[in-house]
């Protein structure tokens, strides 16, 4: 049936209404990016924060937020969001570059306790791929294993039983390793024990009370590990092993 002029207008206005009433994250993101391009970082961060508050977890969002905080001079928050982005994709070149620039501005230079070499080796492999890449790799290897198994037990695509069996064994082993690293990556992704200091200067205390004596002083941007929680205090550990208590609003959990 023919749409009369009136109905056309009605439908058109409904469409417009939809666009305005229901927020479109992509549009907001683009608006924020535009503000960033203009150099209006303080306004850009407001728009980005709104997107963050709506629960969106996205590499691009975290990366841009990290950039904006860096431009605003808030190194602590900048590193925090870069680390969040790193969790989603550790292989991104731009992110790694920006992260090293931001880390250069950390005031504290902590000598890390040397790790067990196997542990470092294991972590290097684990961080070589993002969680998604590991997941896909595991899936592919699984399917291949099934195919080779089928070949041995059901259809005979490859004539030689020996080759088929060898291929099956290899694929299964690689699958198990891949699954293991995927699991490790998942564990790391969900562990909420790493945080970044976001307050400019913090006096870390010996006990979880403001009247306690000071253990040491740290500055924004430093990566710390959370050991314990008591009300609104966290017990933290630095890379060189020092421990102390800090208020929860002085740090941001990655």
């Amino acid at each position: 049936m023919m749409l009369f002029k009136f109905e056309k207008i009605l439908i058109f206005s409904l469409l417009i209404f939809n666009c305005i009433a229901f927020s479109n994250p992509t549009k907001d993101f683009e608006k924020a990016n535009q503000l960033y391009k203009q150099g209006n970082y303080s306004e850009a961060i407001i728009k980005y924060e709104a997107l963050l508050n709506s629960g969106i977890e996205s590499f691009d969002l975290y990366y841009n937020v990290g950039n904006t905080y860096y431009k605003l001079g808030e190194i602590g928050k900048s590193i925090l969001y870069y680390e969040k982005a790193y969790k989603l994709d550790p292989t991104d070149e731009d992110l790694n570059f920006n992260l090293s620039i931001a880390r250069n501005k950390i005031i504290d230079k902590i000598d890390s306790v040397p790790e067990f070499f196997l542990y470092t080796f294991f972590n290097n492999i684990r961080d070589n791929l993002s969680l998604n890449s590991w997941a896909i790799l595991t899936l592919i290897l699984f399917l291949l294993s099934i195919v080779f198994l089928l070949n041995i037990l059901v259809f005979r695509i490859l004539k030689s039983l020996k080759i088929s069996f060898l291929l099956l064994v290899i694929t299964s082993i690689i699958f198990t390793i891949s699954a293991f690293f995927t699991g490790a990556k998942v564990f790391e992704y969900y562990s909420k024990d790493k945080a970044i200091v976001i307050e400019k200067i913090v006096n870390v205390k010996n006990s979880p009370t403001a009247k306690s004596s000071d253990a040491f002083i740290i500055h924004e941007g430093l990566k710390i590990r959370i050991i314990e929680k008591l009300e609104d205090w966290y017990k933290i550990k630095l890379e060189d092993g020092k421990t102390g208590w800090i208020k929860e609003n002085s740090i941001g959990i990655i």
């Binding site: 992509t26 977890e57 996205s58 691009d60 920006n98 501005k105 969680l131 896909i136 399917l143 089928l150």
Partner: protein, 601 residues
């Protein structure tokens, strides 16, 4: 000549300084009815040449014993030194103050004179009599105790300004024998800040003449009080429980009573006497009003000095600023001065060090140490600041001003603090800017994780299920196939024989070609089933191979070969064999079939 005189003069003077001739009394003031010792002591290097000791006239005293001589010598490093004493036991004749003239002594050829001494003779008290004396004076009773045991609170000022030090001393006065006392209540000082002054740890009794009577006195406590409130403040009393030895009253006057009541024989009674010091009230006035903001509570007499440990450092390196305030007064109650730090400096809460002297007046030094960290480079100055205190002697506020301190901050290595070195990578990264933001496709999905998506796991499940289904299916097919093969194997013999018989029955109905074709087909069908050969692999070659493999008789194989070849020739090549007997041929075929059937391959 003059040189000689000077030399001798110095020589004798040196002698004079290295020797000593003094008078001392073991008790002073002394009671009229007690004995005391007067000692004349010479100390020096030349003891042996001491002679001709001339004591002074001591007419105001009874000389009970003396002079008693005593010598002591010491040789150190070849040098000899020592002292010689002349001791007299005296008793005063009357009350008053009596001067004893100096004594003289000859040391070699020199005459030396002692100092003088004035002995004060006061009224004695009954208990000071020696036990050998016999007297009828009344013994101590309870009514007299308060006169003989008491604590005095001695205050040096009763009218002070808030914050001005008051020194309080608690002294115990004794005229009786006592056992170990117990403190029942310590004084409290509400409205004051109290600092305990040094008191010797052991109780030392000194003699003091108070109100004309002689007492043994011990200092119990010394406190410095700084009033923190104004108005009339009280110092609460010091209370103690003192066990006092009391002599019993005389009962009678007979000789026997005297004998038995003698203090030497009787057991003294002990009474627990509570002693309370006098309450002292102090008037405290407020300091004159002031709106000087740099007044931080200091009252007394103070000095302030300010210093920094480095005047030229790099950005982000720490500086220690020390403010020292020293003097007498309420040093423990002061606050530090306010001061402004230059732009770009960070100031941390100060560390407070203090050393306090608590002899008679509280004095000392307090140091406030501030950690400062400059974040920007350039020339900066910590401006001068004030600290005001109230001077008690001048009775006015005095302001101390620090000198301004200029500090040179050099450009640091950029970002690093606390002296650590940059490594090569970090230097390369200096002053580089970050890369641009991401503006391309934005995925607003809350979950970017594949492992959270359903389809990832569905693929796993589907692939496993698929595998299982295929496997099962395939296996079933196989078994089915095997069944068919087996079925065919069993049925093939009967089948073939029947078919051949049928062929024989209808031999006249068909032509040669048809018959031989039929035989050929039946034979092949039989062989395929019986030998379980797949159709794709069914030819003469494989048949012979299979029969050979099962040790079938070679002659029989040859015969079978002939039969098959003959059939083939007729069927495919239409070769015409005129003189053959089909029946005979068929029976040959049957026998071969039998053979194969019987051999049960």
């Amino acid at each position: 000549m003059i040189k000689r005189i000077i030399f001798l003069f110095i020589f004798f003077i040196s002698f004079a300084y290295s020797q000593n001739f003094t008078i001392s009394a073991d008790k002073n003031p002394v009671s009229i009815d007690e004995t005391f010792q007067l000692t004349f002591t010479y100390s020096g290097t030349d003891i042996n040449s001491v002679s001709n000791f001339q004591p002074p006239k001591m007419n105001d005293f009874l000389i009970l014993a003396g002079p008693f001589q005593s010598t002591s010598m010491q040789i150190i490093n070849g040098a000899m030194s020592g002292s010689k004493s002349f001791i007299y036991t005296l008793k005063a004749k009357a009350l008053g103050k009596f001067k004893i003239e100096p004594a003289t002594l000859s040391v070699g050829n020199t005459k030396i004179t002692s100092n003088t001494i004035t002995i004060e003779v006061v009224k004695g008290s009954p208990n000071q009599k020696q036990s050998t004396q016999n007297n009828n004076q009344p013994q101590t009773n309870i009514k007299d105790i308060s006169d003989n045991v008491f604590i005095r609170t001695i205050v040096d000022k009763t009218n002070v300004l808030k914050g001005e030090q008051i020194t309080v001393i608690y002294k115990l006065y004794l005229n009786v024998r006592i056992a170990q006392p117990q403190i029942s209540k310590l004084p409290s000082f509400p409205g004051f800040w109290a600092e305990e002054l040094e008191t010797p740890t052991t109780i030392n009794l000194t003699r003091e003449n108070y109100n004309g009577k002689l007492y043994n006195v011990a200092v119990l406590k010394k406190v410095a009080l700084f009033p923190t409130e104004s108005g009339e403040l009280s110092i609460t009393p010091f209370e103690m429980n003192i066990p006092v030895y009391i002599q019993k009253q005389r009962r009678g006057n007979s000789i026997f009573d005297e004998f038995f009541d003698d203090p030497f024989f009787s057991q003294p009674e002990v009474v627990n006497y509570p002693v309370k010091s006098n309450l002292v009230k102090v008037k405290v006035a407020n300091l004159p009003a002031t709106d000087i903001t740099s007044f931080k509570g200091g009252i007394g007499n103070f000095k302030m000095s300010v210093e920094v440990d480095k005047k030229r450092i790099k950005q982000n390196d720490p500086i220690n600023l020390r403010i020292n305030i020293s003097g007498t007064g309420n040093i423990k109650l002061i606050d530090p001065p306010d001061f402004i730090i230059p732009d770009g400096f960070e100031k941390y809460d100060p560390k407070i060090n203090e050393s306090i002297n608590r002899s008679n007046v509280v004095s000392g030094k307090r140091t406030y140490e501030y950690l400062l960290i400059p974040r920007k480079f350039g020339k900066y100055e910590i401006p001068s600041f004030d600290w005001t205190y109230f001077d008690l002697s001048k009775r006015s506020y005095v302001t101390l001003t620090s000198d301004p301190i200029s500090i040179d901050i050099e450009k640091g290595d950029g970002i690093i603090a606390y002296g650590s070195q940059l490594n090569k990578n970090e230097i390369e990264l200096l002053n580089k800017d970050i890369r641009f933001i991401r503006i391309s496709s934005f995925n607003p999905e809350s979950n970017v994780l594949i492992i959270k998506s359903l389809w990832y796991w569905i693929i796993y499940i589907v692939s496993i299920l698929g595998f299982v289904i295929l496997y099962v299916f395939f296996k079933k097919e196989e078994s089915l196939k095997n069944d068919i093969i087996q079925w065919r194997y069993t049925k093939s013999y009967k089948n073939s024989i029947n078919k051949l018989n049928k062929l024989v029955k209808n031999i006249n109905k068909h032509n040669k070609n048809y018959i031989y074709s039929g035989i050929y087909d039946i034979l092949y069908e039989f062989l395929q089933a019986r030998l379980k050969l797949p159709a794709s692999n069914l030819n003469l070659q494989t048949i012979i191979e299979k029969l050979k493999a099962n040790n079938f008789d070679q002659t029989k194989i040859d015969e079978l070969t002939n039969i098959i070849q003959k059939c083939e020739l007729i069927k495919f090549a239409s070769v015409n064999f005129e003189q053959d007997d089909i029946n005979e041929f068929i029976s040959k075929v049957k026998s071969i079939i039998n053979e194969i059937y019987e051999s049960e391959l």
